[in-house]
Amino acid sequence: MNIVDLSVQVGPLNFRNPILLASGTVGYGNEMSEFLDLNKIGGIVTKSLSLKPRKGNPPQRIVETPSGMLNAIGLANVGVEVFLKEKIPFLKKYDVPLICNIAASTIEEYVECTKILTEEEAISAFEINVSCPNVKEGGLQFGNDISAVGKITEKVKSVTRKPVIVKLSPNVSYISEFAKIVKQEGGDAISAINTLVGTAFDINTRKPKIKNVTGGLSGPAIKPVALAKVLEIKQKVDIPIIGIGGIMNWKDIIEFMIAGSSAIQIGTLNFINPAAPIEMLQSLESYCMKNKIEKISQLTGSYQI
């Protein structure tokens, strides 16, 4: 038994520790399993799944920026069916909560995906991506439309008894308004944030460096923005928050929890140091011991303002 209790609760969900791996940055788990013991982390969020397989955007899909990266993958994924057939069996070998991230072009598609996936008992919860900046239909249109987000939450909730987390876009005036409607419509938690819309140009060809023109900015560059969004939600709406954005080390995790997160997700860092989560668990424990914190969940929203 640990001296420090690292387990956290996000609404009805229990995680053995606050470190989840973010959608689109862990694939479907198999590659990551070569670097870390998936049984040790809090949870895994799958790459966004759509009803049918998606090819995604043509290259170039990524570019580095100061302390960040832009991506426009375009939700390339195997689709719900192949996921269930070919990807789930691997994940079932592990005792780690599996959150299925769903992205869709229509409200009906969200519902359809959820209906199919909810039958699979290996799936603990859904994360509804209403905020992908890199696809033409759906994506940002939904992310910027409060009533669409409300509707999606309501409809998805109506077809599953599993917890529904809604992943919000930071590219809005007041993210807390979106969190409010999610709560109203029965959503169980908020994931914040998805990437910021950004772009970059090649000064020789004058073409965008990313074929899709704009991409989503992630990495440490966006950490201050992500923290402010988490804080805004925490101060305005009573709903559990999973904090995401630019986490690079254990200190960042503590910062996100202080700002209001019940758990966090690691994204871009997985590309750089896929073994990092395990190292960070140790440090989280030390921090708690040093600060006489028995349960790490006591940190959530413990800011002194």
Partner: protein, 253 residues
């Protein structure tokens, strides 16, 4: 596939501002295959943020070599490494060349820094086979012949060897190539690979090319490195996982 702190032995500067980085790392040196690559964290801090992919250039005992030129911030930092520095390596990555097989002559085709993966490939090709190398560059300054064998050179400006591109040079040697059961191993800019593909299709030559792409992870989780497949147009291949080496017939360059 592992993440490991390795020790820099030295940085060797060849001609033309080309650098060799020699690294002590038994784990990688003893497991990596020609054509595979490594994703290197060039600094200890978050600048630059992403790892940089480099082909395995050569292996000597417990040491391996990378070959690069100073291109941007990352390679600038790499070039300044010194004996005893530690360096964070992720790999081995990708598939590597299929160099064991039914051919009698390996034809190396390299454009510019496309030379990087070949010293190790040449070392590993079995004794019985012939090796001939065709090396191209814009000018003589871009021609890298380090540890190549039976070299023919082409430069766009004619400042060294044949005047023209390296595929035109291959064409000059068409008769010789056709006389043997050859397999072509190529690496270089996309324009070269594209011309080479046509050349191989016309002449029905076996050919494997090592490709490049912008990459974030290098091991298949970010989907950042797609390349169009000829076999299934509904799905991209991934350069980092399905490649970086492809049968030239399998990809649209």
């Amino acid at each position: 596939m592992l993440v490991i702190e390795a020790l820099v032995d030295k940085v060797i500067e060849l001609d033309n501002q080309i650098f060799l980085l020699k690294i002590h790392c038994p784990e990688i040196a003893n497991s990596i295959k020609p054509g595979q690559f490594l994703n290197v964290r060039v600094s200890e801090n978050i600048y630059p943020l992403l790892r940089r992919p480099f082909s395995i250039c050569n292996v000597e005992g417990d040491y391996f070599y990378l070959m690069f030129n100073v291109f941007g911030e990352g390679t600038k930092i790499l070039a300044s490494k010194k004996y005893g520095d530690s360096i964070d390596i992720l790999g081995p990555l990708g598939n590597g060349f299929n160099y064991i097989g039914d051919y009698d002559t390996a034809v190396i085709v390299a454009g510019g820094l496309g030379a990087a993966p070949f010293p190790y490939l040449i070392k590993k090709i079995e004794k019985g086979k012939n090796i001939i190398s065709f090396i191209g560059g814009k000018t003589y300054r871009e021609v890298i012949t380090h540890e190549m064998k039976n070299i023919s050179i082409a430069t766009d400006d004619g400042s060294l060897g044949f005047k023209g591109n390296v595929v035109e040079l291959l064409n000059e040697h068409l008769e010789l190539l056709k006389k043997n059961k050859i397999k072509i191993f190529a690496c270089g800019p996309n324009s070269m690979l594209r011309a080479l593909k046509e050349f191989c299709l016309i002449n029905n030559f076996e050919c494997e090319v090592s490709t490049e792409s912008a990459m974030a992870c290098g091991f298949g989780i970010c989907q950042g490195c797609p390349i169009e497949s000829t076999k299934n147009q509904d799905k991209y291949l991934l350069v980092c996982k399905d490649g970086p080496v492809f049968n030239v017939r399998d990809i649209i360059i």
